[in-house]
Structure formats: C-alpha cells, structure tokens
C-alpha cells in the first residue's frame, strides 16, 4: 500500500487528495471528499447506484480506481443543481413524475439519465428502458422513471 497524490476535477472544482493507490473512485467521493450523494448498492458493478459522470460518460464509480480518474472531470449528483440550489431539469423531472421513492438508487439513475441526453435524441420508452438496464431500482417499478427521463431529456434539449 502506498499513498499517492491525486488531482482531478469534481463538480467543476479542482480537487487534490492523498489516497491509497487501491482506493476506488466511489470511496474517494464518499469517504475522502464526503460527497455522500453517490451511493453503493453492490460491489459487482450491477446496481448502478454509484453512477457518476467521468468526462461526461456514465461510469459505475465502484468499478473504477480513483487514480484512473486523474485529471478528469467528475460530475456527481451534488454537481447538478445550480449554485442557488435550483434543480437541474432532470432532477426536476424526477420530482414532477414521482420517479423516486426511497431515493437510494436515485442519484445513479439521474446521472445515467443525464448521460443519455448526450447520446440519444427523443428516445422511445423501450430505448430508455434499455439505456437504464444498468441501474436497479427496487421501489418504483421503473414506469415513473421512464416518464421522468422523457420529461428531463425534453427539458434538457430545449
């Protein structure tokens, strides 16, 4: 084990941390930076609760070493709302469509949904369901999540 210095950007700000080389990205976010909005629901990159954006791509942060993110731009759920606290259109859509219940999978779900905006224009219900295949929600049955994503994407592309 060895400590290493790491510099990256998190939610638009440069961050420098001294970490163990085996520290995962999600540990860095949750334990070192105390950004606890990113959650851990499994340890096999199956549930997607830890999804964040790395240079704009949705990545399961339990499955990436913090060191692999050196110099990269990380966006977490804490980085979406405006500085005055106004929710991002995707966050607002989840609230409007009741796309969340217990809230635990929600940050990962919202981050995956945000990434979709950059990839697909006007996705169908089926395309959204396929795109969210990597995020498990145990509460909602997904129907309102699909609605939320449709509304959020429409608002983001306005």
């Amino acid at each position: 084990m060895s400590s290493v210095d790491l510099t990256l950007r998190v939610n638009g700000k440069a961050v420098t941390a001294k970490i163990e080389s085996q520290t995962s990205l999600v540990e860095l976010l949750r334990e070192t930076l105390r950004l606890t909005g990113t959650h851990v629901g499994c340890d096999t990159a199956q549930c997607g609760a830890c999804t964040v954006l790395v240079n704009g791509r949705a990545v399961k942060a339990c499955n990436m070493l913090a060191l692999q993110a050196r110099g990269m731009e990380i966006t977490t759920i804490e980085g979406l709302a405006s500085t005055s606290g106004e929710m991002h259109p995707m966050q607002a859509a989840f609230k409007e469509c009741h796309g969340l219940q217990c809230g635990y999978c929600t940050p990962g779900m919202v981050m995956s949904a945000c990434e979709l905006a950059g990839r697909v224009k006007n996705p169908s219900d089926t395309e959204i369901r396929e795109a969210l295949d990597g995020n498990i929600c145990r509460c909602t049955g997904y129907q309102n999540i699909v609605k939320s994503v449709q509304m959020g994407l429409a608002a983001m592309t306005k």
Binding site: T36, G103, Y104, I136, R138, T140
Partner: protein, 789 residues
C-alpha cells in the same frame, strides 16, 4: 399544485416534500454518517451450512495492525447474553408453544447457515478488520445440511437444533374446521388439486443494511444509527429482551432508509452485537453490509411448499378449501418469522370468496438457510398465489370462464365473517373485476391472440383477485393470536407559537412518502399550508413511541393517530378561541383554518390561537394549561382489507422460452386515497416485485452443501427497466370503516396480487396446468419441450 392555500390537499397528487434532498444528494442514510473517532466493524461469517464449532484461535487477529477488538460467541456466552427474541408465539395443534431454539447474537457451539455470524472484528479500517478476520482460525466439524422445507421432515434429516427442535419442527399449526372441510370436500362434484412451491426471495433493498453503534461514556448513553423500519421496536427488543440495557439510555435513530420491504423490521444480530461491544471498545463502531453479505444474512421471504385442494359443486360454487403447507423458517426464528406462515397467511385463505369450509395445516421447519421473515406482502402473497392459482385451474378444468367462476363465488355482503378468523368490513369485488375487465380490454383479447400467433408466438391471459389484511393491527386480536407486542401507533402534533406545525410519527418512511402524505392529512384538518408542516420520524429521542412501518399500516394506523392528535389540538384551540371571542366552547366552529363563533362573523385564525397558547396573557389559566402540543395513540378495531383484480397478458416465444408481459392491468380498492400519485407509485413498485417473483427471482441453495448459489446481482435476477411493461392502473373505492380517514393501505397489493396473474397467463399461453416460479426462459422452454414430447 402551485397554490394550495384555498384548497385542501387531501386527495391531490401533491409532489413530494422529501424529493429535493434525495435528488440533490442530500439524503442522509446510515452509511453517509461518519462519527468522530469512528471504528469499523466486520463480521466473520460461517462458510459452512452446518458445523460444530470445536474451538477458535483469535490471538493473531487480536494482534493484527489496527485491531481494536475481536469478539466471538464465547464472549456472548460469558456475558450471559441470551438470544434474539421472536415477536410472535404460535401455539401448536397440541396446544403447546412453538419450539424456540436460541438465536445467539454470535454463533455459540454451532453454525447453522452459510453466513451465520461467527465473530465481530473491530478495527481502524475495513481493510484491517478484513485482514484480521482472515487470521481467525475456527475449528469446524462440518455436519450434513438440509435446505429444503420438506426435506427437513424426512427420517434421518440433519437436525438443525438437535433436541431444542426435534424433527426440525417449530410447530404444526392449524386454522379452520377440519371436520367440516373434509365432509364438504367428500361431497364435492369436482376437486382441483395443486402442489407447488412459493419460491424463496431475497428482499434486496438497494441500500444494504448499515449500523453505527456508539457508547457515550460521559453520559452513559448508547446511540444506534440503523437502517431500520421501526426504531422503537428495535430498541425495545434489544434492551428488554436481549441486552438488558435500560431502554431510556438507548437512542435508536433510523435516518433516511433506502428501502425496506420488510427486511429492515427485524432485530438483527449484527447491530445487537455492535451495541453491546461498543461499550468495551469505547469507540463508535460502523458496519455496512456488502451485497453478498445481504444475500447471505438478511431475512429472506416466502419459501413455502403447499398442497391445496378446492372442492366445487357442479355449478362451480366453492364448497371447501383444504391446504397443507410446509413453511421453511430458515435456521432461526426471525422477529416475526413465526407469524408470517400462520397469522398473515392462513387467515387470508378465504380470499374474496364465500367458501364455507376452509382448513389449513402449517408445518414450520428449521433448515440450514438464512432465516425467513416478512417480505413485501408477508404470508398474503403466499395465500393469494395458492387461491388464485387453484381457482384459475378449477375454472379451466370445469370449462367456466375464470372471471365468471370468481364472480359466482364473490363475497357480496359485508361485514363478512370468514371461516378463517377474519371479518371483512367492506368491499366490492365485482366492481374491481368489472373495471379491470374493461380497462384490460378483455373483449379484444381474441384478436390480440390471433395477431400474436401470426408472429409465431404464444399468447395467454391470467386473472388474479386478491385480498389482504393490512392496517396491522388491532392489538387485542393480535395478542389473542400470539403477538408479543401491541400494534397501535402514535402521533404527536406540536403547534409552534407562530402556528407552524411539527408532526411526530411512530411510523417510518423509507420510500413511502410519509413526509408528504401525512402533511396533506394535517394540512386538510388544520387548514394550513403544506409548507407550514414538517413530519418527523425515525428517532426514539424525538418521537414518543411507535411501532413502525410494515403491513401497509402507516396511514391507516399511524395516520389515524395523527388525526386523533389533531382532533385534540382543535378541541383545545376551541376553548382558547372561546375565551378570546367571549363565547361558549360549544359555539366555536373550526373550519378552513379559522375558529369562529357559530352564526357570527367573529373569528380568529389558527395562528393567533396558537400564539395565545404560548403567550397566555389573556387565557383561561384556571381551567386550561398553556401550550398547544398533543399526542394520541390509536389502536384500530380491525384490520383493513384492500382488495383488487389484476389481469396479465403475456407473449411467449416458443423458440427461446422468453416471456414478455404485453399488458398488465391492476385495479385496486384501497378505500379513500390521500395522494393518488404516491399510491400509484406504490402499486407500480409492488407489481415489479411480484412480477420479479413470477418471472425472474429465485433464491437457490445447493441441496448437498447448503451453499447459497444466488449470492449476488449477477446470480439473482432482479427486475430491471427492460423486464417490465408499462402498467395500467386504476382504483375503485369502498371507504374503510375502521379508521376516520377511510383508508386501507396500498404498499403491498402489487406484490400480493401479481404473481398468480402472471403464472395464470403463462400456463394459459403454454396450454399447461402448472409451471413453477420463477418462470424463467429455461423453465418455460423445458415445459414446452416436455409438453410436445
């Protein structure tokens, strides 16, 4: 819902107050909390399903870097700590109490399932704790294991608890009139018989269990943060029945909880051990379960094997239902493990039907598997699956349309006393059936079937008419049936001097949206804005008491306690207003947030009365205490009985065995509805779990070794977005008669009603009588091949 000032929010799809924090990363779940000087706990678990512990070597682990403590069953035994209690006493057919073998906090002498907790290691870091755990040597004598319920009763089966539960049996229990059932069955024109398993499930809330135990030496006070559905019950069970700690010196906080579905009701060994040893370590101890640990050690659900017989006369009238069920309890009695396959199961076997004679016998057995307890629906899905599968099968055998056979047997007059203990207060089953038939466009089914067949696929339709008993529970009834706790609820309304209100509830929200729904109820009654109300839950130091959230009880029981407390506030407010308005108490009316003298234009706003209560300069101090803060306990007179009708249509690809749910229609009677958006969300989530049980989910232990073969999300198929259809949901309404809100509860219906609808649809599509759950592509394909052969 921009302006609620002039309109009651009751019955409106009000957006949730709690969502902002969940959506912006501000949720505060147990693992998000980091206490000063916090150490990490790790549990060494049994790698064997069944083994005798002949000794331990823990010195190397104790000396490992960063280790603060290593504790085993020897420490538990030395401290004289008894086992975890079971909250429900079942009395068997011979009038004897169930067998309750000890459920030690850390394994003593024997381990009884893979994952049984053997040692707690506390260290500075998780890595150090894990490294130290690897240095512990446990001398195991591996014993043969038994994992399936029926196998536990076979001669020569491994004995999980030896003499403490001979023949692996906790109890053989019965309900109903056996002689009348046998006699009616003997006269039946037609008897339909089914034998099947109700598959074992893993609840899998996405937030794994987590706890932080902290002993504050300066104040001689314990604090436990825990991902839990009922913090007061957790504290009561832990202090009074296990650790003997003074209840008032233990604070249990269940902060934001990321889903429960029953699995976070129970007092678990992990947090109990952590609380006890936190004093010795004198550091806060945090433990968060890993996902595989969840699969191994959380309480599982279902796992019944049943034989059911339904006797009918020549017209299809039900004469008798006879049920024999083997319920797998797992290795130990979990907190409500004994109640699930009895009180929450057999009492529902009447379903929506006026079957005159019902008899059920339940044999509950121990096996070398994780304990089984309530999981969303808890007993009622097992009862519904049994009834709705056998009714559908009987309809096919007697060539009566499944909807018609159900309608012919519906209970139509209320109150209705079933032959299995419950009394239904109200309902209209035909109304839900009719609405569902129409919404599902059953008339258009033949055309859809033809279109499907043109594509070379198979199409089937399945029905399910469920009933459940919710609003748990009338304490007196529960007590007579063996409950060791009351099941009332507590609500406190604190009106602040400015007229703002804090609501304290003994229920716990872990996705259900209580912060919104309960505020709607209070806003309606007090005529104040939603923004002026805050709902607090999940902390034994802030809330007087509570029994928590499960059994779809929160609004029916907890919401009613809040209403009762509001009533007290209004009654006191009237006295204050009467004094200020110089009128008699009896002349004061309270409406739309104003106290007024009947028949005059003299009135006072709610906030002014509140201020007067706290600034009592002009106040009837001789007869009335200052302040405006009231608490109410509510114990319901009966259960509530949500019921509904679900219709499922599937398309099956005979080449791959893949089943696609093409249409799923759900019509529920939940009585009155406070927030239709939240209710719909609850139905969606329940349907997803029920469809998961029917198509995807199955917890499998190796029958030889007792190893859990489905211990990760890679082996256990959770429903994902592309596994599920868009549901069509609707409601009917017969207001509940046992609470002033007229509400019944909506949390479990989807999980209860949907599995038989799906399986009835698949068997219809395949033209077979039976298929086991989960109906995976492999199983469907095999069934088709066997059918062709």
């Amino acid at each position: 819902m921009s302006d609620l000032s002039n309109q009651s929010p009751l019955g409106q799809a009000v957006k949730r107050k709690e969502d902002y924090r969940f959506l912006t990363g501000g949720g505060r779940y147990t693992d998000d909390i980091k206490l000063d000087n916090q150490a990490i706990g790790y549990f060494l678990r049994s790698p064997h399903a069944h083994a005798r512990i002949k000794g331990y070597k823990i010195d190397a682990a104790k000396a490992a870097p960063g280790v603060l403590g290593v504790f085993t069953g020897s420490d538990i035994k030395a401290a004289g700590i008894g086992g975890l209690p079971c909250g429900w006493l079942i009395t068997d057919v011979n009038n004897q109490p169930m067998k309750e073998p000890p459920h030690p906090v850390l394994a003593i002498d024997k381990v009884r399932y893979v994952g049984d907790q053997v040692a707690l290691i506390v260290a500075e870091t998780l890595e150090q704790a894990k490294n130290a755990a690897a240095l512990i040597e446990v001398d195991y004598e591996v014993l043969p294991a038994v994992v399936k319920g029926p196998d536990a009763l076979k001669p020569g089966a491994p004995q999980v608890h030896d003499a403490a539960a001979p023949n692996n049996t906790s109890y053989v229990w019965q309900l109903g009139d056996k002689a009348a059932t046998d006699a009616a069955m003997a006269k039946a024109h037609h008897v339909t018989r089914l034998e099947f398993d109700n598959n074992r499930l893993v609840p899998n809330a996405i937030e794994p269990r987590s706890a932080i135990a902290h002993f504050d030496r300066a104040n001689d006070q314990y604090t436990l943060y825990v991902s839990n559905q009922n913090p007061h019950v957790e504290r009561l069970l832990m202090t009074a029945f296990v650790l003997g700690l003074p209840e008032h010196k233990v604070r249990v906080i269940a902060p934001d909880v990321g889903g429960g579905f029953g699995s976070k009701i129970y007092l678990y060994a992990e947090e109990t051990a952590m609380v006890f040893f936190s004093k010795q370590v004198n550091r806060p101890i945090k433990w968060t379960s890993e996902r595989t640990e969840e699969f191994l050690a959380i309480a599982h659900g279902r796992d019944h094997h049943s034989v059911a017989e339904l006797g009918l006369d020549k017209d299809g009238n039900f004469l008798a239902l006879r049920v024999r069920t083997n319920a797998n309890l797992g290795a130990y009695l979990s907190t409500f493990g004994s109640a699930v396959p009895t009180i929450l199961y057999a009492t529902l076997l009447a379903g929506q039907y006026k079957t005159p004679a019902i008899h059920a016998e339940v044999t509950a057995v121990f096996t070398n598997t994780a304990p089984v307890d309530a999981y969303r629906g808890a007993g009622r899905p097992e009862a519904t699956y049994l009834i709705e599968r056998i009714v559908e099968t009987a309809a096919r055998e007697m060539k009566i349309h499944p909807a018609e056979l159900r309608r012919r047997n519906f209970i139509t007059s209320f109150p209705y006393q079933t032959p299995v203990a419950l009394q239904y207060d109200t309902g209209n089953y035909a109304a839900s059936l009719d609405k569902c038939l129409s919404m599902a466009d059953v008339e258009g089914y033949p055309a859809r079937k033809a279109a499907t067949e043109k594509k070379g696929l198979l199409r089937g339709i399945g029905y399910s008419c469920y009933i459940e008993a919710c609003g748990i529970a009338p304490s007196r009834v529960a007590g007579a049936l063996g409950a060791r706790a009351g099941l009332f609820e507590v609500g406190q309304i604190r009106v602040h001097p400015t007229g703002k209100v804090t609501v304290f509830t003994g229920t716990h929200s872990h996705g259900q949206g209580h912060e919104t729904t309960f505020a709607q109820v209070v806003a309606d009654r007090l005529g104040i804005g939603m923004a002026d109300i805050e709902v607090v839950h999940g902390d034994t130091d802030r809330i007087p008491f509570g029994m928590g959230t499960y059994g779809s009880r929160s609004l029916a029981v907890g919401g009613t306690a809040i209403v009762k407390a509001v009533d007290k506030i209004v009654a006191k407010g009237k006295k204050i207003a009467a004094h200020l308005l110089e009128a008699a108490d009896t002349d004061i009316e309270f409406k739309d947030g104003k106290f007024s003298v009947a028949g005059t234009d003299k009135s006072l706003p709610f906030a002014q009365v509140a201020l007067t209560a706290y600034v009592p300069h002009n106040y009837p101090l001789e007869t009335l205490e200052p302040g405006l803060d009231e608490t109410a306990f509510f114990d319901p007179a009966n259960f509530t009985f949500p019921a509904g009708c679900y219709i499922c249509e599937v398309e099956v690809d005979p080449e791959t065995g893949h089943t696609r749910i093409d249409k799923f229609t759900a019509v529920d009677d939940f009585g009155n509805i406070v927030n239709p958006m939240i209710v719909e969300g609850q139905v969606h989530g329940g349907l997803a779990q029920g469809i998961g049980q029917a198509l995807l989910e199955g917890c499998i232990y190796d029958v030889e070794t007792g190893q859990l073969l489905t211990a990760s999300f890679m082996d256990y198929a959770m429903p994902r977005a592309d596994d599920l259809p868009t549901f069509q949901v609707g409601t009917t309404c017969t207001p509940c008669t046992v609470n002033p809100l007229g509400v019944k509860g909506c949390g479990e219906a989807g999980a209860i009603g949907s599995p038989p609808a799906v399986i009835n649809a698949i068997t219809d599509a395949l033209g077979v009588r039976e298929i086991a759950m989960p109906a995976t592509p492999q199983r469907v394909w095999q069934t088709l091949q066997q059918n062709r052969a």
